[in-house]
Subunit: 96 residues, 2 copies
């Protein structure tokens, strides 16, 4: 796959996003979110789910009441790719 990103490319991309961190050993990029309520958290998750399905690239995520952690990775190539950055960028554009 030609869309695998180097560490520098990942750092550059995450520099334009807020709150996303790179975990090279997994590999993944992650962000933790906190909302006012479960309804707000799950409403946000529903929007992310639609983005993910549209982009055919899906998060690993966990939710506990008003907290949400999203982890993105391109499991097929065990790397961070443009698909992860595209989904993270789309998530950042969602209304909170």
């Amino acid at each position: 796959m030609s869309d695998i990103l180097s560490r520098d490319e990942i750092d550059d991309a995450l520099g334009k996003l807020e709150g996303w961190h790179h975990f090279p050993d997994e590999p993944s990029i992650k962000k933790s979110f906190e909302f006012k309520s479960f309804v707000r958290a799950f409403g946000f998750m529903s929007q992310v789910a639609l983005l993910a399905e549209k982009q055919n690239h899906h998060p690993d995520w966990s939710n506990s009441y008003n907290k949400l952690q999203i982890s993105l990775s391109s499991h097929d190539v065990n790397a961070i790719t443009t698909r992860d950055i595209r989904l993270a960028t789309s998530i950042e554009k969602l209304p909170r």
Copy 2:
């Protein structure tokens, strides 16, 4: 809280449900689900979210594509209560 369940009561209750396991050390009751697709998994999660909000008792859960793990616990009393069993029972009645 008078709704805390004993280990025997939890075992009895889980005996009537399928695939739920008790983790006394956490404490939690958990079930792993597998669906045909992300759309099916998230559709199921949406139904669980509505049940959870209605019962004012919310899961700790994680999803990765077609896989879902639901963990229930009554964090306010650090125990398994009738609220956990009620939500698990409602989840079991959902269409898959």
